[in-house]
Symmetry: C2
Subunit: 322 residues, 2 copies
């Protein structure tokens, strides 16, 4: 994945060069700060790779890639407020380092800057990018709202949960990739397949994220094992456990959700999930989405070399920390 | 101004017909609620009048007008959070009726809906609308940030204050009108003049708003006389008073800002402002901007009938409550 690092470095340099105004400093300094926190820059890399797959130089796809990355950062700034998150990549979040009002407003203006990145494209291409960007932005907001709704709801089905993660996180991957297809001027079928690929890789990735909370290798996992369990967070593991549990096991799940000893809570939840076969059941769903993604990729008419790059990226995403 | 009412009713009907999704209801119900709170719909009326002035039917300008109105409502929802405002048009604000997270997120998605309204325009026209919309949206955010900054600053010059109101409120009027020029396909000179007209009418209107706080006819004024004075809000009156005051009067201004008896505070501030000639000084600045606006309008090449309508609207805005 040496190549991915080169793309990430290229993007990092271009992000640094984004020309944000200096004044008002309380509006734009938080953006400079937040954009420097880094990240894997997976989403804009997808746009660059996809454009190349469809025959366009990555420089031509850069602005669209940056639109995706700026939009993603806008959603993070606002999500951090909503989640009352103190840290992002081990640094203070904008609403903590400045304040909530500044985080709202600098998020808003970052959203505008994301749109501005699209204005260098022409006519039909502009229109197609603009339409997909609007659709995706609405869906991401809907996903975030469903996520907040679900935290307060007792009855969330697995289908609803997967629809939530599709909207909240996966459509943006689809959008990032389809941007490359639009810029490359490929046919509708290819554009749809690359979108499907991105969307289902995204869903599989999020499911993996849920699974890793409890089943990751502690030495490789960057976070506390069982963090979601401790917080009684709704995840696919948790929903699947409820689905598979008999009456007695259901009571045990409720008891564990109220268990105050964190160590016991995680250990006993893990034990119960193993009994129920929760991990395998979730991995099956994950694999289904991953296979849908790979199948869509295989149907794309493009040079094998580029399709293999795309596959390598998907594999890279799916094996981290596990 | 019978004609304006017809435009407002036309817009009210079209706003009602905007097709917002039903789900997630916590995301879209707040928007349905907020858009029904009404308002004078001045901004979208400007777009319609401007398009007609430049020879296009108002139906053709409708989506651009709605983009302006939706954007305006998005800023109100977020501003209400930042200002901790409990009421908007005597109804609960979104962050009070629902909560802050929902107000942030439904504001965000309303912003997307505003952009979506532009996608029905084609090619160069789309691009020109999109560019101006982005520029305006950034400026409005900058103006709101400056407004928040100024409330905490001891040294705000009159020029800085007017630049703040230009960004926060007036560029959107300019944008609304120039949208009509773009849609009407008029020349650059006309587009610039109509923008200047809107921007300076906007500044004059905001200055009038500041003046009316203390100098309105109490029987016609909808709000408490001296509300800004009581709240020690920075307004043009207040900044002008500081500028004109000698050392002793300066001390009196500081004393009055700490006066706890509201009636005495307003009465004595009024008396001091009269001594200083604050009202006339502010009215001079207001008139300057109004004249700049009217001068720009006079230079537009368009049928006199339409220019007279535009003038009537400006006059209507400038005589309310005074």
């Amino acid at each position: 994945m040496q190549e991915l690092i080169a793309y990430a470095e290229y993007l990092e340099e271009k992000i640094e060069q984004i020309d944000l105004p200096n004044s008002p400093s309380n509006l734009y300094d938080p953006l400079r700060y937040f954009l420097k926190l880094g990240g894997k820059r997976i989403r804009p890399i997808l746009t660059l790779l996809s454009a190349e797959m469809f025959g366009k130089d990555k420089d031509y796809a850069l602005d669209a890639a940056l639109a995706i990355e700026l939009f993603h950062n806008f959603t993070l700034i606002h999500d951090d407020i909503m989640d009352q998150a103190p840290l992002r990549r081990n640094k203070e979040t904008v609403h903590v380092k400045w304040n909530t009002n500044i985080a709202i407003l600098s998020g808003d203006v970052l959203f505008v800057k994301a749109y501005e990145m699209l204005t260098n494209y022409q006519n039909d291409q502009l229109k197609e990018l603009f339409n997909l960007f609007n659709k995706t932005a609405s869906e991401v907001c809907e996903g975030q709202q469903l996520d907040m709704d679900f935290e307060k709801s007792e009855n969330v089905s697995i289908d609803e949960y997967i629809e939530m993660i599709r909207l909240k996180t996966s459509v943006l991957l689809g959008c990032a990739l389809k941007f490359g297809g639009i810029i490359g001027g490929t046919n509708e079928s290819n554009k749809n397949h690359i979108y499907t690929f991105g969307q289902h890789v995204g869903i599989a990735f999020q499911i993996q994220d849920d699974i890793l909370d409890l089943f990751a290798d502690p030495d490789k996992f960057g976070k506390q094992i069982g963090g979601d369990v401790i917080a009684n967070k709704k995840t696919l593991l948790n929903l699947k456990a409820k689905e598979l549990a008999n009456e007695e096991q259901h009571k045990e799940l409720i008891r564990l959700s109220n268990e105050e000893n964190v160590k016991i809570k995680v250990e006993q939840t893990l034990k119960l999930y193993l009994e129920l076969g929760v991990r395998e059941a979730c991995e099956n769903i994950m694999r289904e989405h991953y296979n849908t993604a790979i199948n869509a990729l295989s149907q794309i008419q493009a040079p094998e070399k580029h399709k293999n790059n795309m596959l390598a990226l998907a594999d890279y995403l799916m094996v981290r920390n596990s």
